[in-house]
């Protein structure tokens, strides 16, 4: 009798999974309150919380340059851009909050996971941004790379994420234009200004390659590419996205009279792909484990502001309790 019941419930779960996969295959959108397999929920939580927290941590390297931007126009531009990034972070954390709610978790847990190192943020935001050229390059190429990876998920099976990405991508296009405008001004400027961008490209090139993630699991040991493809969260592989990036940006970089710090870089006409030197994937693993040059400093900023404003959060929650009471 007991085994019959177990069998029955296994069958019921299998049925649920089958009908769920049928919806995915049919291109239907899954919504926050729909039943979903744990594997799907977990991969979404990991992906979207990492994306959201990366937007927030990503404000920090640019934050450095907001007060220092060299004209009123640039000050206004970079203020608007970083504000958008924080807005994206907020939007994505809201999407994550709905996913973690059934697990009894809240935004506090997301922040705790960030501080403990369980929740990782994008490799590029662990890096140094020591010049104004970096402020331009982040907008131009880091946001350019982000547009490529995010466009790849615009038709993601999870409705709330797909809708958030639609808005995010629209704004990222402006960011890339903002970054490109800074870079163009420098490229048309003095010798020192030109040298400033070349220096930024040299510094950021390897991080930009890493941005798309390893080509396969061999490089770093694990990869979620197969799961995200199975559930139609994304369509292209990491390597395809990296190749798209090269196709779009290598000619633009060269046309500005700049060089790419990889002498092996070229397009192979027969293979129809870009040949390039692989970044150091062991270094990548170290960086995303919060051992990058700026990881600890930026986490410290986030953590300090969290602690420093504890009294504010507690005042707000006591206020809402008073109102509720």
């Amino acid at each position: 009798m007991v085994s019959k019941i177990i069998n029955h419930s296994i069958n019921k779960d299998e049925e649920k999974i089958l009908s769920f996969m049928a919806r995915i295959e049919a291109g239907e959108k899954i919504e926050a309150d729909d039943w979903m397999p744990d594997e799907y929920r977990n991969v979404l939580i990991k992906l979207i919380s990492m994306h959201g927290i990366s937007e927030i941590m990503g404000a920090l390297p640019e934050k450095e340059w907001v007060p220092k931007a060299p004209s009123l126009k640039r000050k206004l531009g970079i203020m608007a851009k970083v504000q958008d990034e924080m807005g994206h972070g907020q939007l994505l954390l809201r999407v994550t909050e709905d996913l973690i709610k059934p697990l009894g978790k809240t935004r506090e847990d997301i922040m705790e996971d960030l501080f403990s190192g369980d929740l990782k943020f994008h490799n590029v935001f662990h890096m140094e941004a020591p010049t104004w050229g970096d402020a331009g390059l982040i907008g131009w190429l880091v946001d350019g790379a982000a547009i490529i990876t995010q466009t790849n998920m615009l038709s993601a099976s999870y409705g709330p994420y797909a809708r958030a990405l639609k808005r995010i991508c629209a704004e990222e296009v402006f960011h890339a234009q903002h970054g490109e405008a800074i870079i163009l001004a420098l490229a048309e400027g003095t010798e020192a200004q030109k040298a400033m961008i070349q220096d930024s490209i040299n510094r950021w090139w390897e991080s930009l390659l890493m941005f798309f993630g390893p080509g396969d699991a061999k490089a770093v040991g694990t990869s979620k590419q197969d799961i995200t493809a199975k559930y139609k969260i994304r369509s292209k592989s990491n390597e395809e996205l990296r190749q798209d990036f090269f196709t779009k940006y290598v000619p633009r970089i060269l046309s500005l009279g700049l060089t790419i710090p990889d002498l092996t870089m070229h397009f192979d006409d027969q293979k129809k792909e870009w040949i390039y030197r692989q970044p150091d994937w062991n270094r990548f693993k170290e960086i995303v484990r919060n051992k990058g040059p700026k990881s600890q400093e930026r986490l410290r900023l986030r953590k300090l502001s969290y602690e420093n404003n504890e009294w504010v959060r507690s005042a707000l929650s006591s206020g809402s309790e008073n109102e509720a009471g």
Binding site: G87, Q90, W132
Partner: protein, 267 residues
């Protein structure tokens, strides 16, 4: 329009525009230092939007100065020395301990009170500027007042919420109110050319601005059941007269760092 101004009127317009521009510019800068450090992410988004609007207001005033024959707006905002600045000292003071990139222990209560009082004062001035005899300034005031409406609403919510929360929050807020009031005289001052400014009918006189300010803020204090003294001083200096603190010099070094690396370059 400029040619219709007498020399004395033009001097008065320029003086007033520097006060308005420098006020918005420096408080926006202080706001931008908060980026990524606000009490929660929603506030980070809202606050940076306010700082951005405020920088936009400063840019409008600097533009008007440029059109009156002063130097270009980037020079005016980035290159003028501390003793040439006309902003109120309250607005230049640091956000709290630490640096915006290293160990910032910024004071949210001071920030809320400073922005709330400043927005109230700005509102009083903007309402008066709408009737300014100098049409470009009156037109700017109409545009600014639309955004200012939301800024004031935002800071009013914070101001009342934190005072109503009682406990530590209220203690910190009362301390911040005392700190802000000790510097506040400067904010509603029209500086060394106040007579000329009023004579040219650019804005109402200081005493009238102050009365409107007291009336508006008193109503809020009444609702909060907190006594409002409304006694202001200029403890750290009178910014309208070019007196400033070390905090301003440091801010100017930071905000002009890239600009000064090559002032002739196009950025």
């Amino acid at each position: 329009m400029n040619e219709l101004l007498s020399t004395e009127e033009k001097r008065a317009v320029i003086e007033l525009l520097y006060q308005l521009a420098d006020d918005d510019f420096i408080i926006s800068y202080r706001g931008s230092e908060w980026l990524g450090l606000a009490p929660h992410i929603e506030e980070d988004v809202a606050f940076s939007s306010i700082s951005q609007d405020t920088m936009g207001h400063a840019a409008m005033y600097y533009q008007l100065l440029e059109e009156l024959g002063e130097k270009d707006r980037d020079y005016l905002s980035h290159a003028r020395k501390s003793n040439e600045r006309k902003n109120a000292v309250l607005l230049e003071l640091v956000n709290g301990e630490g640096h915006y990139l290293h160990e910032p222990r910024y004071d949210w209560a001071f920030t809320v009170v400073r922005h709330y009082y400043y927005s109230q004062a700005k509102k009083v001035k903007i309402e008066s500027l709408k009737q300014s005899s100098y049409p470009p300034l009156a037109a700017a005031a109409v545009k600014i007042s639309m955004e200012l409406h939301y800024h004031l609403m935002h800071w009013t919510v914070w101001f009342t919420q934190l005072l109503n929360a009682g406990g530590e929050a209220k203690k910190r807020m009362l301390k911040a109110i005392a700190k802000v009031e000790a510097e506040f005289e400067d904010v509603l001052s029209l500086g060394p050319l106040s007579k000329e400014i009023v004579k040219a009918q650019l804005i109402e006189e200081e005493s009238r601005l102050l009365l409107s300010f007291h009336a508006n803020i008193n109503a809020v204090f009444n609702d909060l059941s907190i006594p409002y003294k409304g006694e202001f001083t200029s403890l750290s200096g009178r910014g309208r007269f070019g007196e400033h603190t070390e905090d301003l010099s440091e801010a100017l070094n930071t905000l002009g760092e890239v600009y000064h690396s090559d002032p002739g370059a196009v950025w």
